[in-house]
Structure formats: structure tokens, C-alpha cells
Symmetry: C2
Subunit: 463 residues, 2 copies
């Protein structure tokens, strides 16, 4: 297989005068042929199904600092060595650790002695409730509502953030970004007004009993209060119960706790460029997950795509002009210390980065890339993306969304995050439902081929 492909490509290259990606005629110029080979190989010869199975079923979820996360680091390193990258190494990263603890439970005390159980998940980083915490609840639908409410109405109570994601928006990812502040800073703003805890409606458009966790923040000099995500059905039930009895009590018990920092690693592999080895294009994804489900979509899909990108370069004997780095970041979910460490080192060494590419948008049908970079570079990126039009992956939109590549802003000419259909993503995101069966192997393969194509063309022709 390997040999046949290389032979085809070589023959074609020999007979073609121009390699220019500009003004390419799809199906005839050698770049188009290479792109087709990348996609055909990824759709038919990939090990993505086996790799996804291993990460999700053999290792499982992989929260920062866990034994599973460390197993994933070792497994990834092993895969990269087996694919015979020119270099494979581990980059040390100091990361925060947080454990959920054994017990999590919540219920509404409806007043007449009855209780109604609500599914909850502690938000990542939350402090414990120190036993059961029982208090009244103030429901809040906007920051204005919270700001205008006098402190005495909040003091000693839970603030219940119940602003739902807007289902009418075309892209659920936008609806998520518009609602996520409740989860990120809800505990801080609640505590500023004297609340004893924060309850946050899960960030999903699905109506079910599966809560969705995610990162939250505390601020210096503001009391740390526990914060939990309620399932959407639980949030609806609480809201309804509050209408009937505004002084009902809500009981929350969570045994989660922050732990001392530990040392973990980014995994990095490299294929050396044969013209400009000191210039880099990176492709990456994050190794860690939350501690529920299997982290299939977030971000096993990105991990296997990045391994697949390396496999495609090697199998198709694509020798890049610039060096390609394949980066497996640690700790995206709770601080992105891996991404920050990589950027900090790259800046210290004065490395030249043309493009930082990341896959962390769910692994569903890819539709293009999200872009951040100087305006004069976007046209070139759009030209390269036109090679992906046959597969429907040629959209270039602004506002790149990769958390791990964000620290490279300014140090890398462009940042590109793989953009995927997100209708399915937020049904499962950061929840027990993020499992292997939700993914489609072909959709994951297409994302790998798209990143490989983009990295290859940037490596060949620059920006």
C-alpha cells in the first residue's frame, strides 16, 4: 500500500511542471492528487476505529492527574514511536488536580416532607459542601437580574443560574459560548452577594437527566462556594417547584476537592522538514478529559486524528518542506497548562511557527476551519481550503476556538481550529453520554485528512 501510493505520487510529480497551489485545477494538478490520496487513505486504511476503542473503552475517561491520563500519555507515545516519527518526546507540564470524591447527591425539599431527587455533577474545581448543604434557592436568568437583586435576598441561599442555551441559534457552539459564563464565573458572582453555593443549568440543548460538568473559576478574596451542574430536567423541576414554593430548600452534598499540583506531560512527535526544518506547523488535540463518560468526542476524536495525521504523512511518504509537529496537550479541561507550557517554551526558544492547528470541536462532520491570524494570511488559507471542497470541509470562519493553541497567538502566524457540525456535540459534552457510540469513524477520518491537507499545503507553500 505504502509503496504503491508513493510510486503513483512520484510519477505524477515527475510529469507535472507546476506544483503551485494557486490556481489549481481540482483533479489534475499534483496537489489535488495528493489531497485525494490523503482522503482515500484515511477513509479506507485508517486505524481510527481501533484507536478510538482503545482510548475510550480500554483507558476510559482521563481527567488531569489521574492514572488513566498517564496511561493515555504512555499509549500515545507508543503509537508515535511505532509510526516512526523523526522525534518523539515528552514535555513536562505542572497541572492542577481535582477529584470528585465518592458521593454526589441533591434533592428538592418540596416543603410537605417530600423530596425530589435531582441529577447533579460538581463543576470541575469546586470545593466540597462539607456534608449536606441545605438552603433556599434564588433563580436567576440574567446577570442584570443578579446585579439588581439586593444582597439580603441572596445571602445564605443558593444562586440557581437557569439561563438556557438558545436553541434557535444556527450553531449550538455559539449558544454554548453565550451561556458558559454562568458555569465559569457563577460561583464567584454568587459568593460576592453572600450565597452559599451556585447551581448551574447544564449547558446542553437536550432535555434529559444527564448533567454536564466543566471548568469553573474562583477569585482571590472571594469566598469559595461549591458549584454544581443540574441536569436540564432537574433544572426545569427546580424552577417549577420554586414557582409553587419560593421558600423551598435545596439540599446538595458533594465530596469533591482540589488536590496538590502534579507533574504530567505533553507528548510531541516531529517530522523534520526537508527545506525549512526550523519552521513549524503543529497539529494537536488534548489528552485529558472530564471524569465522566469516555471522553470520546472531547477529545479522543482529536487525539486519534492527530495520530492519523502522522500516519498519513508516513504512509503516503509525504515529505514536508517545513517541520510538522504533532502535539498531545495535557490539561486542556482545567487550565490548559499543557497549551500554555508549549507556547511558553516555543516563545523562549524563538521558534518560528507558521500555523497551529487543533482538533477539539467534537469530531463530528468537519465543515472547515476557524481562523485567527493576520488578515493578509486568510486568503492563502482559503486557497488551501478550496482543496477540501469535495468533502464539504472548505469553510473558513473567524474566531478560532482551540483552547490549547490560543496561547500561541502572536507567536504563530495563524491559528486554525477544526470546525465541525455541533448539533450532536452539546447533547453529550462533558457528560456521561460522551461515549464511543456517538462518533462516526468516517467523520473522524475526514477531520484527520483535512488537518493533514492543511498542514501539508502550508508546509509546501507557506503563508
Amino acid at each position: 500500500m505504502k509503496f504503491r501510493y508513493w510510486f503513483c505520487i512520484s510519477v505524477v510529480l515527475f510529469f507535472c511542471k507546476s506544483l503551485s497551489a494557486q490556481g489549481h485545477s481540482i483533479d489534475k494538478d499534483p496537489d489535488s492528487i495528493i489531497v485525494r490520496h490523503i482522503f482515500e487513505e484515511s477513509l479506507s486504511g485508517t486505524e481510527i476505529p481501533e484507536h478510538l476503542y482503545y482510548l475510550t473503552k480500554k483507558i476510559g475517561h482521563r481527567i488531569s492527574g489521574s492514572a488513566q491520563a498517564e496511561r493515555a500519555v504512555k499509549w500515545i507515545e507508543h503509537q508515535l514511536r511505532a509510526l516512526e516519527a523523526d522525534t518523539v518526546y515528552l514535555q513536562p507540564v505542572k497541572i492542577p488536580v481535582w477529584t470528585r470524591g465518592a458521593k454526589e447527591r441533591a434533592f428538592i425539599q418540596t416543603g410537605n416532607g417530600n423530596v425530589q431527587t435531582v441529577s447533579v455533577l460538581a463543576l470541575g474545581g469546586s470545593v466540597s459542601t462539607q456534608g449536606a448543604l441545605s438552603a433556599e434557592v434564588v433563580e436567576i436568568r440574567s446577570w442584570e437580574e443578579l446585579n439588581e437583586m439586593p444582597e439580603e435576598k441572596i445571602k445564605g441561599k443558593f444562586v440557581f443560574y437557569n439561563r438556557a442555551m438558545d436553541a434557535s441559534m444556527p450553531d449550538p457552539f455559539d449558544a454554548y459560548l453565550e451561556a458558559v459564563d454562568q458555569r465559569s464565573i457563577g460561583a464567584i458572582e454568587a459568593a460576592r452577594k453572600g450565597a452559599v453555593g451556585a447551581l448551574v443549568r447544564s449547558l446542553t440543548l437536550a432535555k434529559d437527566n444527564s448533567p454536564h460538568t466543566g471548568a469553573m473559576q474562583y477569585a482571590e478574596n472571594v469566598r469559595k462556594v461549591p458549584a454544581a451542574a443540574l441536569s436540564t430536567l432537574g433544572a426545569d423541576a427546580l424552577s417549577k417547584a420554586l414557582k409553587e414554593n419560593p421558600t423551598l430548600k435545596f439540599s446538595l452534598e458533594m465530596h469533591c476537592s482540589p488536590q496538590p499540583d502534579v507533574l504530567s506531560h505533553n507528548v510531541i512527535a516531529e517530522i523534520k522538514g526537508n527545506y525549512y526544518p526550523e519552521e513549524f506547523i503543529t497539529i494537536g488535540a488534548h489528552t485529558d478529559t472530564w471524569d465522566v463518560g469516555e471522553g470520546a468526542s472531547d477529545d479522543a476524536s482529536g487525539i486519534v486524528q492527530t495520530i492519523e495525521a502522522l500516519r498519513l504523512f508516513k504512509t503516503l511518504n509525504l515529505v514536508p518542506k517545513r517541520s510538522i509537529r504533532f502535539i498531545f496537550y495535557m490539561n486542556e479541561e482545567s487550565g490548559a497548562h499543557g497549551g500554555k507550557e508549549y507556547a511558553s517554551e516555543a516563545r523562549k526558544k524563538g521558534e518560528i511557527h507558521l500555523a497551529s492547528i487543533e482538533s477539539d470541536a467534537g469530531g463530528f462532520q468537519p465543515v472547515g476551519f476557524r481562523f485567527d491570524g493576520a488578515p493578509e494570511t486568510i486568503q492563502q488559507v482559503q486557497k488551501y481550503s478550496s482543496f477540501l471542497s469535495l468533502y464539504g470541509i472548505d469553510g473558513i470562519k473567524e474566531n478560532q476556538r482551540g483552547v490549547d493553541i490560543a496561547p500561541m497567538k502572536g507567536a504563530s502566524e495563524v491559528l486554525l481550529s477544526l470546525d465541525c457540525e455541533s448539533h450532536r456535540l452539546f447533547d453529550i459534552h462533558h457528560s456521561a453520554l460522551d461515549t464511543l457510540d456517538k462518533l462516526n469513524f468516517r467523520e473522524v477520518s475526514l477531520g484527520a485528512a483535512a488537518m493533514t491537507t492543511m498542514a501539508y499545503l502550508i508546509s509546501e507553500y507557506g503563508l
Copy 2:
């Protein structure tokens, strides 16, 4: 909700001079605003989840002639009346009936007394095996191979069609269309050479033990031999066993049988146009399914989208210039007698049809429409589809794929089949895996909104 929308739309229409869909500026002209309302309403106010649940879980699969198919007809009629369409009626259709029978089993007799079970499903329309049928097997990978093979090598044996769908093709639907002839005419071509039966590799890219059924044909004056689909893992196992022992025997037992024709119905609802009531645009899908799984993707998704399209017209008070018909065809899967009957009646009455729209491509993320019509009409269709670009549904490709609207070719100015991502479709198509959990409600809603938009714009501005 109803009133608010209509008020907004009316105010906008009043203040805008031009309604032209040509040269529209997205977000400002009244058509764009109407399209946005269509999508917002379908994404946030739809009953699609409840309708899908009823069709798939309460009724279940709905093969032509079954009690479930008749329940679906009644349920659809009830929904259309509840939505207060101007007219709702049933169109009688005579349909063929076929039953699978109680028992289906197959195994490879490996020669040393061992047997290996293989998952099979009779193809739809197949005759029974009349007890267990045991014979040698000839594996065939192409029609050339079959044609060149002398009759004596085939006589008395099973012909085993094992040409897999081509995974490297960008669109699995194309790979399906390229391989489906094995299922359609495999039994005929096998019988012509004296075979006792046809075994067909399931038309899917998934590797599993779930066989995929589908329609097959017999020809006059050619012996009717039984035909079964083998799961892909079963086909691989048989192929491997044949390499080890070319004279092994395969045993197949199926109790299926064709039954006498019965009378069933297309269900049709209408909203009368207020300018050209005698001109029609149709939106439709098929009520019947195969007799395994739940027919969720094929074609409960299309059914609920068509009901939703009616709901959107009514809820948003969209009064079309031309009449809109909502058609629920019976018997797409085994002869398309519903589609043929509708077209035959429309021709007889000399009805004017501008567009026949169908949803039968799986109900996954819609990407546009497949078109068939006079070349001069495609530009107008493309203009209308540009209204769908915000949702990624603006692709117009040739080769419409709707089986029920195909008989309207020539009688309808354009045929438009909703085009969807098909990476997920063929994993479940015509199999026990076609169940509700595979669908995403937002993706289904987007398809409904896209068909509604297209019908509305054609009704307003013609072709």
C-alpha cells in the same frame, strides 16, 4: 407565539418595498427575515422529537401492507387534521405485500462437521427456501467475473456477491448506488446461470453482524431463487472459509413469501395558494419502511419533517401564492406504488406542478438539495438555496435521489430531493440498527426548515 410572529412579519413587509428574492441581502430583506423565522421556529418550537418517538417507538417498523403501516397512515392523517390544513385526504394505492416469516437462519458447513452461524436477512420480495437449502458457494466480485464463468461452475450453487461498497469514495451514498445492483438483480443473474440462490454482502461500510435488507427483483421467464443479505462480518467469514475450502456448503433457511396485493393509501394535505391555487409545490416522504429496526432514519425523519413543514406554514401564518401539498407516500421500499399513483393521477388531471420535493436521504445534517429539471431552472433554485447558506444547506447538486418523486419527471418543472450527510446513514440503512437514537432532532428540524423555505420561495416567485 403564532400571533407575535405574524405581527413581526407583517410590520416588516409593510415597510419594505421590494420582496424580490433576487439580489436579496441576507438579514435585511423580508424573505431573509421569514427564512430566519422558519428556522428559529423549527429549532425551538418543533414537535419533531415527540413525533419521531411516536412513529418509531409506539408504532415501530411499518412495512407495506402491515398493521403498523396502516396505523401510521391514520396517525399521519390525524396530525394533518390537527394542524388544520385546508384539505386532508387519502389517495388509494394498490400495493404488493411480502412477509418475512418466522424463521431465518444460515450457516457455513466448514467440512469437518463444524458449522459457523452467519447473520442473514431475506431480501425484500424473496421467495422462501422451502426448508433448509444447502449448496456450494461461488464468490463473485464483479459482473464480468460472473459473465465469464461457465454455467457448470455455478449450476446448483449459491452465487455470493461480495463486492464491498468503496469506502474511499467521498459520499457513501455514491458508493451505495455503485454497489446496489448486486442486491437488485443478483438473484436474476444468478438464476440465469442455474444457481439455487443469491447471497449478497450487506450494503454498508460498517463491519458488524447486522445484515441490511432491501428491494430485489425477479424477471419473467427466469426462475425465482431465494436471496439473502449477509452481514459484512458474515460475508468476510464466508469469503475466508471459501479460501480454505472452496467446496464447503452453505445452508440457508428462510420462510418469507410474497402475498396478495392489498389496498393502502397515500396521505395528502393541502394549503391553498392565494394567487395561483391551481399550481402546486409538493413536499413529501414515505410512510412505509422495511420490517426491521424502527424505520427512524428511513423514513420517519422525512415523515416528521413533512408534518413539520405544514406546521411551520401554519404557525408562521405563511400564506403561499401557489398551493402546497404535503404527501406521505405508501410503498416506497418495494415498488414505489404510492409515488407512481400520485404521479399518474396528477398527469391524468393535467395538474401544474412547479416542484416536487422529497426527504428520503436519512434525516442527518442537511447540506442542500439534489436537483432534476430543465437547466434554465437551476439558477433560480440556486438563488433560493442561497437563503440557506447560514445553515450550511445551500448546496445544489445534480442527480436527484427521491424515489417517490421520480415518476413526476416531466410532469413537475423540478424535482428536489433533500441532500444530507450520508456517513452515518449506511451504517443503519434497512437494518435493525435504524432506530431513534441514531437521529439528532436539530438535524431533522433543519431539514424540515430547508424544505419549507424552498417550497415557500418557489411558491412566492416561481421558477
